[in-house]
């Protein structure tokens, strides 16, 4: 019982309020769509076709998750062991970039390296190999999903490793621990705590993948449920079928995620004086070589497609593009939507986390309280599975009677983006806040520091870093998102990805490349902002 009764009450009611708000937002949109008097649904929901795409959806998502997580682990371990690696801060920042890129741009970048005419194949053909390696098919899908998700996983793992108290490393040195023991007693437990959450997140992202799967899949054998949902809503306009498919997607993916939740999540209680971390391990040449080549390989894998985007982008007349009113307007719109959705996502995530902490603080949490905690956890991650196209169409129907929907569009897009970003923000904030509470809650309670003064003196100085990181995550995600905007399609609401697509759809590939580069630079700038405070904490 480390919280006062009032704090607990506030925490729980904040959580209930967020839960209700999210449920209403999603629920009202879906029921508006269901209640719309649609013509009879055309196709049966569960056909051999649905079965086949469900199977493929899950199969590629499982493989993509496995590859992304398993490859990200060594990268994060190496990066954590080498705090002074040349350009390390930039490698970590670049890792935030794929998420902020419109998917099509990322795919074109990947194709520039791995495609039939890409750098890798050109290199192979100079070696005298005739047949180019082809990535189209499952290989291409996996490659692209790893490109987008490995950096995400590596960053989150790295944060978890860096949160380990400095004392651990001191102790491991004085005990003369071998690398294997360090992994077993320090790194392993730290990672195991976050693996289920991160794997679940990546699994959801890959299961709902749409554009990447179609572009790199090579044919309709590679189709995800999201494609079928899009088709039935945008092309066939068959809302009941679209919702049926969406429910199927949520149910099946949710089941798999529930299985992940049973993985052990050991409690990591550390007591630390909070001194700066110094690592004393990995001083052998073998370890240096391994870490160096791991980081180098991951960086190359990440940077080559980005470089191909960069090289295509600088061919455009960047100054003309950057100073054009179209770009400035779109940048303003995109950034305001991103900021709004980022702030919303962080606020809602904070409310949910505090509610969960408050419930855990109860001496005898009853079934309703435990149920609420579980619901909060599930809701904050499962919203990612609700197709934005379904929410968007539902909201459109709902708001029509109140006037021009394009007037509400920015707020709606921000709200939809908030839902998409919530699971990411939770992954960044929850472990950080829990650690922070473990270290400070008892002391603060015994000193009687509560309420605002605790927030100001104890919580904010520590949490501002994770909060900024989470905010930059959410903003980058919103910046790169095309889906939600495309629904409301109105000339007043032009975002940067929309601008990129509109150039592409009228032969202006050069301009599109240039705009994509500018968008990438904005995302990078955001990431730098997001990592500034953390860097300060690191040095001092």
């Amino acid at each position: 019982m480390l919280l006062t009764a009032a704090e607990r009450r506030r925490g729980i009611s904040g959580g209930v309020l967020s839960l209700v708000a999210i449920a209403l937002f999603v629920g009202i949109a879906v029921s508006a769509l269901l209640l719309w008097d649609a013509p009879e649904t055309q196709g049966q929901l569960f056909t051999a076709y649905t079965g086949r795409i469900l199977q493929f959806t899950l199969w590629q998502a499982v493989l993509s998750t496995l590859f992304s997580v398993c490859l990200a682990l060594p990268v994060a371990l190496s990066l954590a062991r080498r705090p002074h690696f040349i350009g390390r801060i930039w490698i970590v920042r670049l890792m935030a970039l794929p998420m902020g890129l419109p998917v099509l741009i990322g795919a074109l970048g990947l194709i520039g390296i791995w495609g039939r005419q890409g750098a890798v194949n050109s290199f192979l053909s100079t070696l005298g190999l005739e047949q180019p390696i082809s990535i189209y098919g499952l290989t291409g899908i996996l490659l692209a999903h790893v490109f987008f998700n490995l950096p995400l996983a590596a960053r989150l793992f790295l944060v978890a490793l860096e949160r380990q108290p400095a004392e651990y490393w001191l102790l491991s040195t004085s005990l003369g621990m071998k690398p294997l023991s360090i992994f077993r007693f320090i790194e392993g437990p730290a990672l195991i705590r976050v693996v289920p959450g991160i794997a679940g997140l990546i699994f959801m992202l890959c299961a709902t993948s749409f554009t990447l799967v179609l572009i790199l899949g090579g044919g309709p054998a590679a189709t995800t449920l999201e494609v079928a949902i899009y088709q039935s809503l945008r092309f066939d306009f068959d809302p009941p079928r679209a919702i049926g498919l969406a429910v199927l997607q949520i149910a099946v993916t949710g089941l798999i995620l529930a299985a992940l939740a049973f993985l052990p999540a050991p409690d990591g209680t550390h007591v630390t004086a909070g001194r700066a971390t110094r690592r004393f391990d990995g001083r052998t040449w073998g370890a240096r070589l391994w870490d160096g080549s791991t980081i180098l390989a991951a960086t190359l894998f990440l940077i080559l497609p980005l470089a191909s985007i960069f090289l295509a982008g600088i061919k455009a007349d960047l100054w003309r593009l950057a100073s054009s009113p179209a770009f400035l307007n779109a940048a303003y719109t995109s950034l305001s939507i991103a900021l709004l959705s980022g702030l919303l996502a962080v606020s809602v995530a904070l409310a949910i986390i505090h509610a969960r902490i408050a419930i855990r603080d109860l001496r005898h949490p009853g079934i309703p309280a435990r149920g609420l905690a579980a619901m909060l956890g599930a809701t904050s991650s499962l919203v990612l599975l609700v197709p934005p196209v379904v929410i968007g169409t539902g909201l459109f129907l709902l708001l029509r009677p109140f006037g021009d929907v394009s007037r509400f569009a920015p707020a709606l897009v921000a709200a939809i983006n908030m839902l998409m970003a919530l699971p990411f923000v939770m992954r960044v904030l929850e472990p950080a806040i829990e650690d922070h509470r473990r270290q400070t809650a008892r002391l603060a309670a015994s000193l009687g520091v509560t309420g605002f003064s605790r927030l100001r003196r104890i919580d904010l100085p520590f949490l501002i870093g994770p909060i900024l990181t989470a905010l930059s995550f959410a903003m980058a995600l919103s910046l790169g998102d095309l889906g939600a905007v495309a629904l409301f399609g109105s000339s007043e609401l032009t975002t940067l990805p929309w601008l990129v697509y509109s150039r592409l759809s009228s032969y202006r590939t050069n301009d599109a490349d240039g705009l994509a580069l500018l968008l990438g630079m904005i995302c990078l700038a955001l990431t730098i902002l997001g990592s500034l405070s953390r860097r300060k904490g690191y040095d001092g």
């Binding site: 099509l104 409310a351 006037g403 707020a411």
Partner: protein, 340 residues
């Protein structure tokens, strides 16, 4: 949390305080697709030209594409603000009519009369054509020295020469190729698709993705329009990309517009449709929308258009036939393409 509450309150306030449509002088609201209203598209010029003649204001509402346009109208139903919907294609006509939202234009617009001429004997009392383009395989002359001269040659050609096509489930060109193959091969279409499959590098969700792969040099052939090379020749002075003429003939996409039953000023809407098939509108189309005009333009078309493939035979299926069979044909395509 407080921020969430605040924004919810603001959203609620916006909903309540939003005034009803303001009373204004004559406004013509046109729903269309995004590339029509882009800075470089026909929209701005068309708007300026029509406003000179009508003492009215033209307002565009742009959505992603023709399919999204129809969906938007279905969602809005009779309360739609649209007076004119511009940018559907012939395949959507049957579905569009089924909404009951459109009204026959009552204009004399058959070939010859208004000077309108579109291939494929298209005529309709509700939807008036404003431009058209034939689907074609566009290829990169640097890579492909012997382009296929027929659909048959495309299907049976060297599988190492790849093509990118669009998905008929999510895009109109993709549906166009499906109908083209059906027109040529009939019941044998699945076998033809199974053969063509070996040449298909990938099937993209829309035209932009496929064309992006093509101009990036990843794939030497792409499903596009006979008019695509004109863009590269006129705007980029580039002769590298050309369309292949197919001896069986080409499937045509005709873009149409219609007026809505709920149009506030029907005479104004009808005036716009008349204007749409006049030179003031048609002159703009070729070099902004990169499609063929449906009437004679006041100036001859740029030279590049003279170099384009002019199909001798045109395929066009009736809209009803397409609506009735689309799902079955897509299923057939899925099966043929998913087989190993």
């Amino acid at each position: 949390m407080r921020k969430l509450l605040l924004s919810l309150t603001v959203a609620a306030a916006t909903i309540i305080l939003t005034p009803a449509a303001r009373a204004e002088d004559k406004v013509l609201t046109i729903y269309t697709y995004e590339s029509f209203t882009a800075d470089w598209g026909p929209g701005p010029k068309v708007k300026a030209a029509f406003e000179k003649t009508c003492a009215c204001k033209v307002e565009f509402v742009a959505v992603a594409d023709g399919v999204a346009l129809l969906t938007r109208l279905k969602l809005e139903g009779e309360t739609t603000k649209a007076d004119i919907a511009l940018g559907l294609d012939t395949n959507l006509i049957s579905e569009a009519k089924a909404t009951g939202l459109f009204e026959p234009h009552g204009l004399q617009a058959s070939s010859g009369d208004g000077g309108i001429s579109v291939p494929g004997n298209y005529a309709d009392d509700t939807f008036l054509p404003y431009d058209y383009g034939h689907f074609a395989i566009v290829y990169d002359t640097k890579t492909i020295k012997n382009p296929p001269r027929s659909l048959k040659e495309l299907v049976e050609g060297d599988p190492s020469q790849k093509i990118a096509i669009e998905d008929p489930r999510t895009s109109t060109p993709g549906l166009g190729l499906l109908l083209w193959m059906k027109s040529v091969y009939g019941d044998k279409a699945p076998e033809a698709w199974a053969k063509l499959k070996g040449r298909i590098l990938t099937v993209t969700p829309g035209w932009s993705e496929a064309y992006g792969l093509f101009t990036k040099g990843e794939v030497p052939m792409v499903l596009s329009y006979t008019t695509s090379p004109a863009y590269h020749m006129v705007e980029e002075n580039e002769n590298r990309y050309q369309a292949a003429a197919f001896s069986e003939g080409h499937y045509v996409q005709i873009e149409v517009a219609g007026m809505l039953k709920g149009a506030r000023d029907k005479d104004l809407a009808r005036d716009f449709l008349k204007f749409m098939v006049s030179q003031g509108f048609q002159d703009v189309i070729p070099t902004t929308n990169w499609m063929m005009p449906v009437t004679k333009t006041s100036q001859p078309l740029p030279d590049a258009f003279g170099k384009l493939v002019m199909p001798e035979k045109t395929f066009l299926m009736g809209s009803d036939e397409v609506a009735k069979n689309r799902q079955a044909w897509i299923d057939e395509w899925l099966n043929a393409m998913s087989m190993n």
